[in-house]
Amino acid sequence: MSAPVVTRGLTKRFHGGQVAVDAVDLEVPAGSVYGFLGPNGSGKTTTIRMLLGLIAPTSGEVELLGEPMPKAHLRVLPRVGALVEGPAFYPFWTGQANLLRFDAADRTADPKTRKARAGEALERVGLSNAAGKKVRAYSLGMRQRLAIAVALMQRRELLVLDEPTNGLDPQGTREVRHLIRDLAGDGTTVFTSTHLLAEVGQVCTHAAIMNRGKLLRQSTVADLRAELRPRLVVRTPDLGAAAETLQGLGVTELKTTEETVEGDPGELPIEKFAAALVAADVRIHGFGLERPSLEDTFVALTGEGFDVAE
């Protein structure tokens, strides 16, 4: 099976001349939970809009489930569940009525099972009790759940979720992450964008990192982690002596904080450092190798913090 999402040189320049997405090549493997990571304004939503045929790319191509978009959208989109740029509903209608309308818009959806499927989708996102309430009375979190319910009205091969946990409380966030893992377990490919690094670490198998419209990296989450070498961290009051000893053993990128000395251990086995430090009478309060976080990865890739891109 070909990759459910493929883009080639995908570019969007808005009328103002701003390049929101710049020559992005994505390839989302089947069955993956693909984290599309980037700070606010980095072009995630714009990319997703192009994937779904809502806006036309300035240049480049999109293939969804093996077919060209937007040409094949009537064939492809029934197999894709989508949530784009926050929840949008008819406030004067109930949650259930909203679900029914969006399902009715899909001519491949069976009207006979429509009500039952709506009930199921509402249950999966925990909105059964609010199904008969007008959306006007929903909180942002409830609307976000309802938006996910729209994507779950049918069995999908691909889910494209734009910041699905936005506006949810911690409990809701946990539930949505659980739901994503569930769906992935059923064999659905999930493409989820987020500006929260933690989210990628917790649910994603793959990740792509966007910044200022450009795709910086795309790989498995494990590979991203492994890429940064573990760092040796020594917690000690004898900062000077420790640094000197480590330097002597060939540790590079030494950094001294108030209580620790850190650095790249190189190829030497870790026990050699412990022995040398003890031999040099350095008092050791703590000692070990630390895995870098994704944030570190991001900083390493962009040379800047995870802030809103201008």
Binding site: L74, A104, R107
Partner: protein, 295 residues
């Protein structure tokens, strides 16, 4: 996954006991969107209030005539109401045509696409996928039904109020001959139909304007502005050369139904003109909606 193998695949997937597993073949449930569209238009309080106002037109006219005790001095259909309640239908339709009905059509058509865009529901519909052309068709069909329901509301209300407040009987036609009450009602029904079709040109203009913007109020204002400008142009004698092309030029021809025999020529010309407006503005709306970036 091809449609024919869908059910087989569904039974193979072991943990699937949910209804979501069944997938009907494509292209079977096209009308669902159209029905949903009608629910959207007619389920809104705004629409119902508008129809209520239209239903009140015959009531107000009827009460005014009853109170003034006018026994038919006025010219035109209004002057015939006191003598025959059936004319309340015709008079109400005629009096609603210049302002009330166009206002209602303007509001509903201006809302149609711009409302979806402003709520953001347009992107949900398009990713469903509704298909842009099909969504536009559903909008136009709903507008057409609205025009029909609007004039029929006046017809029904005029019938009820006219029959309660005034005597009814054989119907005097413009040509000086008389037809039975039943035929009179039928002719009034044809008038309602002709008037609702007369509104379609304006509905198409509203639909097009609505496709241009994400602000429903702006779409309504622009559509109504267009209507006013066309009305002013119709009233300027120096522009008589283009008058036959103006939207409302032959709107008054509905009365030709009440001749003996009915005179269809002008009505036909009016409906052709409306068809021209619909063709132009519907295709323009299509060009716009199918090429528009939905953000």
């Amino acid at each position: 996954m091809s449609p024919s193998e869908a059910p087989a695949e569904a039974t193979e997937v072991t943990e699937v006991t949910r209804v979501t597993a069944t997938r009907p073949s494509a292209g079977r449930h096209t009308v669902a969107l159209f029905i949903s569209e009608l629910r959207l238009v007619f389920g809104r309080a705004r629409t119902q209030v508008g129809l209520g106002v239209l239903a009140a037109v015959p009531l107000l006219i009827g009460i005014a005539i009853k109170l003034s005790g006018n026994s038919g001095g006025a010219e035109g259909f209004i002057g015939q109401v006191a003598g025959n309640g059936l004319f309340l239908i015709v008079a109400s339709l005629g009096l609603s045509l210049p302002f009330f009905l166009p206002t209602a059509v303007t509001v509903i058509s201006g809302e149609s696409l711009a409302g979806e865009a402003s709520l953001g529901t347009l992107r949900n519909l398009l990713t469903a996928p509704a298909g842009r052309s099909r969504l536009l068709a559903a909008k136009m069909v709903a507008l057409t039904v609205f025009c029909l329901v609007a004039t029929m509301t006046i017809w029904v209300s005029g019938l009820i109020v006219g029959f309660i407040l005034f005597p009814v009987g054989d119907v005097l036609l413009l040509s000086g001959s008389t037809v039975s009450l039943g035929e009179g009602l039928l002719r009034a029904l044809v008038i309602a139909l002709v008037i609702s079709l007369s509104l379609l040109g304006l509905a198409a203009i509203g639909l097009f304007v609505s496709s241009l913007t994400s602000t429903p109020l702006a779409a309504m204002a622009a559509t109504f502005g267009t209507f006013i400008v066309l009305g002013i142009m119709t009233a300027i004698p120096q522009l008589h050369a283009i008058h036959p092309w103006l939207l409302m030029y032959r709107w008054q021809s509905f009365a030709d139904v009440l001749r003996d025999p009915p005179y269809w020529h002008e009505i036909g010309r009016n409906l052709l003109l409306q068809a021209g407006y619909v063709a132009v503005f519907y295709t323009a709306a299509w060009a716009r909606i199918t090429s528009r970036d939905i953000t």
